[in-house]
């Protein structure tokens, strides 16, 4: 799925005009602030596949002798179709966090609340750091990049809300007479369930 995202993302970079290979990578990096960490080899491999599928075609060389490609009508049609098709994120239920907490809830000896607390602290750390990035941005910044940071912030928000829900659900079930009593992981409980000392920065 990630490969698909790169393929379509690179094709979209052609929408505003012909490009040579390295230029394609530079512009993709600028729109995503390098967060995809594409290497040059990956870009050229994807470019070859886009050409093989008829989505881009070589149109000659520039003054520096670099081969320049342009999007074809077939490529524009495919790109429009991609934009018009909803993403079905088949990886979503397979996220490590979802599996970790689902398994923590049923595995013996795991303090689910402690697992939640460790994750929530990390999620909120990321939330703060992405919010810092967003606050430092201004209107002249690449809009694609700003929207990607917003996406990360909104995703983390839903993650924290879900973690709160997991914690509340597990604690409700742990009450006497309300289903099975979860077991504790002493190591985790000692490390994270006790009061946290917090100092200034």
């Amino acid at each position: 799925m990630q490969r698909n995202a790169v393929r379509w993302g690179l094709l979209a970079v052609f929408a505003d005009g012909p490009k040579y290979g390295y230029q394609l990578k530079s512009e993709f990096d600028a729109h995503t602030s390098g967060s995809w960490a594409l290497n040059v080899g990956q870009v050229y491999t994807t470019l070859d596949r886009l050409a093989r599928d008829g989505y881009v075609a070589p149109i000659g060389s520039n003054a520096d002798g670099r081969e320049v490609f342009a999007i074809t009508d077939q490529g524009r049609e495919a790109l429009a179709s991609w934009f018009g098709t909803p993403v079905t994120d088949t990886d979503r239920p397979r996220s490590e966090l979802a599996i970790k907490l689902a398994m923590a809830a049923v595995a013996p000896g795991v303090d689910v609340a402690a697992v939640v607390q460790v994750q929530r602290a990390e999620s909120m750390r990321q939330m703060r750091d992405y919010t810092d990035l967003r606050r430092q941005a201004d209107e002249s910044d690449d809009v694609a990049w700003l929207l990607l940071v917003d996406h990360l912030i909104f995703t983390l928000e839903s993650e924290v809300r879900w973690l709160d829900h997991v914690e509340a659900t597990v604690l409700r079930r742990a009450r006497p007479g309300r289903g099975r009593t979860p077991l504790k992981t002493p190591a985790l409980a000692d490390q994270h369930c006790t009061e946290v000392e917090v100092s200034g920065r």
């Binding site: 909120m124 750390r125 703060r128 200034g200 920065r201």
Partner: protein
């Protein structure tokens, strides 16, 4: 590290006695430095309101101590505590709590006048505080002539007018839409960055992201807190 403007040292607050005892807050320790905003999150009944009341000296701990700039609140008599609350601490509430019959400038000047500052000097301070939240041109407006976001920015100006350096904000964006909330947070953040200290109680993770740290309360206990910052390169996994 800057000196702590607010410090909780092993603070507990219990209500009632015997089997009826409710532990609203249990052994909570944390600090808020000048230039720092700390968000407090947690489910209803987790102790957030108790924490704010203790931080503002409106309530006293059952054990432990609350310090404001190294002054232990529990060591002050009623008059000194009232003076410290009036001079050093500002509050921002979800419903703004502006006096409807006073203009924006008069609302902001009010705590200074109550502190004994002359009317003209208090007004000068109020205008300066309004300018810091970008509302100097609204000084003569009454609250009902202002939007919710503008009223909340005036509440922030009032909270930090004069020598006040600690703002305690209880769901300040609770009554505002998303865009206005961000504008209010921007103003709050700017005032913190200028040297104030703040505690922000919120249910919204996205707004807690504006704080330097977030602490979580559950059943009166501080259960987790955010760690140190990462660089943008670490954060985005950038190689260059």
């Amino acid at each position: 590290m800057s000196a702590a403007v607010l410090r909780f040292a092993g603070v507990s607050r219990a209500y009632g006695s015997g089997e009826q005892t409710v532990h609203a807050l249990a052994e909570v320790s944390f600090e808020v430095a000048a230039g720092e905003l700390v968000a407090v999150m947690g489910p209803s009944g987790s102790g957030k309101s108790t924490l704010l009341a203790l931080a503002g000296g409106l309530d006293a701990p059952t054990s432990g101590a609350v310090f404001m700039e190294d002054v232990e609140l529990g060591a002050l008599d009623a008059a000194a505590l009232a003076r410290l609350r009036r001079d050093r601490v500002g509050y921002v509430f979800q419903d703004y709590n502006l006096v409807t019959d006073l203009t924006a400038a008069e609302n902001v000047a009010l705590p200074r006048e109550l502190a004994g500052v002359g009317t003209r000097a208090a007004r000068r301070e109020a205008i300066a505080a309004l300018a810091e939240v970008g509302l100097a041109d609204m000084a003569g407006r009454f609250p009902d002539q202002l939007s919710g976001g503008q009223q909340q920015r005036i509440a922030i100006a009032r909270a930090l007018v004069g020598q006040r350096r600690l703002v305690l904000a209880d769901e300040p964006t609770g009554a505002l839409d998303s865009r206005t909330s961000l504008a209010v947070l921007e103003v709050l953040r700017a005032r913190i960055d200028a040297g104030a200290a703040g505690v922000l109680v919120t249910h919204e993770p996205r707004y807690a992201g504006w704080a330097d740290r977030t602490i979580f309360l559950r059943d009166g206990r501080l259960v987790d807190a955010t760690g140190p910052r990462q660089t943008p390169e670490q954060l985005l996994g950038r190689t260059a």
